[in-house]
Symmetry: C2
Subunit: 280 residues, 2 copies
Amino acid sequence: MNVLLVFAHPEPLSLAASLRDVAIGELQAEGHEVRVSDLYAMRWKPEADRSDFPLLAPEQRLKVAAASGQGFAAGAMTDDVKTEQDKLDWADAVILQFPLWWYSMPAILKGWIDRVYAYGFAYGVGEHSDRHWGDRFGEGRFVGKRAMLIVTAGGWKEHYSARGINGPIDDLLFPINHGILYYPGFDVLPPFVAYRVDRLDDRGFATLGDALKERMRTLGTTDPIAYRRQNGGDYEIPSLMLRPELASEGASGFGLHLRDGGPAASFPFEGASLKSSSNS
Amino acid sequence: MNVLLVFAHPEPLSLAASLRDVAIGELQAEGHEVRVSDLYAMRWKPEADRSDFPLLAPEQRLKVAAASGQGFAAGAMTDDVKTEQDKLDWADAVILQFPLWWYSMPAILKGWIDRVYAYGFAYGVGEHSDRHWGDRFGEGRFVGKRAMLIVTAGGWKEHYSARGINGPIDDLLFPINHGILYYPGFDVLPPFVAYRVDRLDDRGFATLGDALKERMRTLGTTDPIAYRRQNGGDYEIPSLMLRPELASEGASGFGLHLRDGGPAASFPFEGASLKSSSNS
C-alpha cells in the first residue's frame, strides 16, 4: 500500500518522533511505500486566509467555502496545498500522528485540515439536494482508503476511560475520526493512543513500540469503526437525523452513529437493521 | 465587567464579523469594558514551537510543558503570549468566537490556546499528588470568571441535534467547553450557536442579532453549564473516575460530567448527590 503519515510535533527528538520512526520502519518492512508530511519541518502555514486563494480579487469578500471551491475547480490552489492533496490521492492509507493538546490536535495539524480539505475535494462532493446531501460519511473522494490516528497523551488512561474526568477518548476523538476522516469517505480504524508518554522508560517505550508495530502490520486488515453511512438508509433526508426505529429512545451521544451489532458494512446498503443500538 | 472577545475569522466583512460587532455594541451599551483579540488582524502565530521559549538553549530538547512552565515562571514568554495572558487576567468574562470548521475551531484559535495556555498559568496549577490532581475542572487561575462560545456554522440545526448525523453540538463542543474553558476554572455558559449562516437574509440576521444581544445582556447572570468539579467529591482520586454510585451503570458519554438534577453548585462541596444522572 501507499501510506501517508502526517506528523505534527515540533521536536525531532521527541518520543512522538521516535514512535513515528517505529511506525515507518515497520510499514517499510511490510513492503509499503511511505511518505511523511512532517508539518513542523515543512514549516506548514496553519491559518486559512485569503492568500490561499489566488483567484480571489483583492476587493472581493472572502467566503471560504466558495473561494475554496472556485480555486480547487480551477486548479488554482497554492502549491503547498496542491502537494498535500496529491499525497492524499496517492495514498491508500493515511495516518495522522499528533500529541493531544487541549483534547484535540495541535494548531498546525488543524490548519493542514482547514487548508488541504478544499471544497470539491473533501467536501461539497456529489449531488446536494433535498434527496441526497452530498457524498459524505461513508462516501466521497477517499472511499476505499483507510485512515487512523496515532495519538500521544500525557495523561492517564483512566482519566480518558468511560467514566474518566476528561471524557472517553473515543468521544473526544469523534470530531476527528467521524467529522474529519469518515466524512470524506475514509474507512477509519480504531486509534492508537499512548498514555503517560512523559513517564515512559526504555522498557515502556519498547512495549509501546511493539504494540504500534502490530497495528502497522494489520493496517490493511483491521476492522474499521462501524460508523453508519449517511446514504445507507439509517438517516432521514434531508434532516439527517437517525431514523426513529434505530437505537432506543433513551440512547444519546456519539455512540448512536455506530452500527452496534448491525450487519457488516455493505454498500449499497441492503436494509436498515432494526436492532436497538445501545450507547453504553 | 471587563470582557475579552477572542475572534477568529479571516474576513472583516463576514457575517461573523458583523455578529461580533453586534455583541461588542451591546456589551458596551450595558456599560462593560470590551477588549478584542482579532487573531487574523493581529497576525497571530498559530504554531507552538521552540521560538515560543526564549530560555530554551538551541541544543536542548523541547518538551513543551516543561519549557512552558519554565518560561512562565521566569516571566520569559514571548511578548505576544504575555499580552494575551494579561488580557485573560484582566477579563471577568471571556468570549471565544469562531466559525465551526471541521467540527472544531480554526487553527489560528487553537494556536492561541496552545500558546497562551502556559504551564503554571492555565494548567499545572495547584498541588499535583495522589491526593489532589491539580486545581482544575472548577478550580484554577480563572475561577470566578465566566466564559462562553459564539459559534457560526454553515450546517442545519437538525444535523447537530441529539440524533443528527454530525453528533450533538453540545458533545462536539465538549472538548472546548469542558476541556479548554472549564479546565482552568471558568464558569462556562451555554454556547451561542448560529446555524446556516451562509443562507441568512437581512431579516434572519436581525433575528439572530437580537438573540445574541439578549445573551450579551445576560452574560453576568446566565446559569453556567453544571459540570462536576474535579475536587468536589464526585471523582475518585487519583483515577479521576466518576464515583460508582453517581450516574447509572448504563449511562455513558460526556453527559456523565454534568450534575444532572444535583444540588446547585457549592464549593467546598457539601456531599455527593446520590441521585442518578441520566445521560439522555
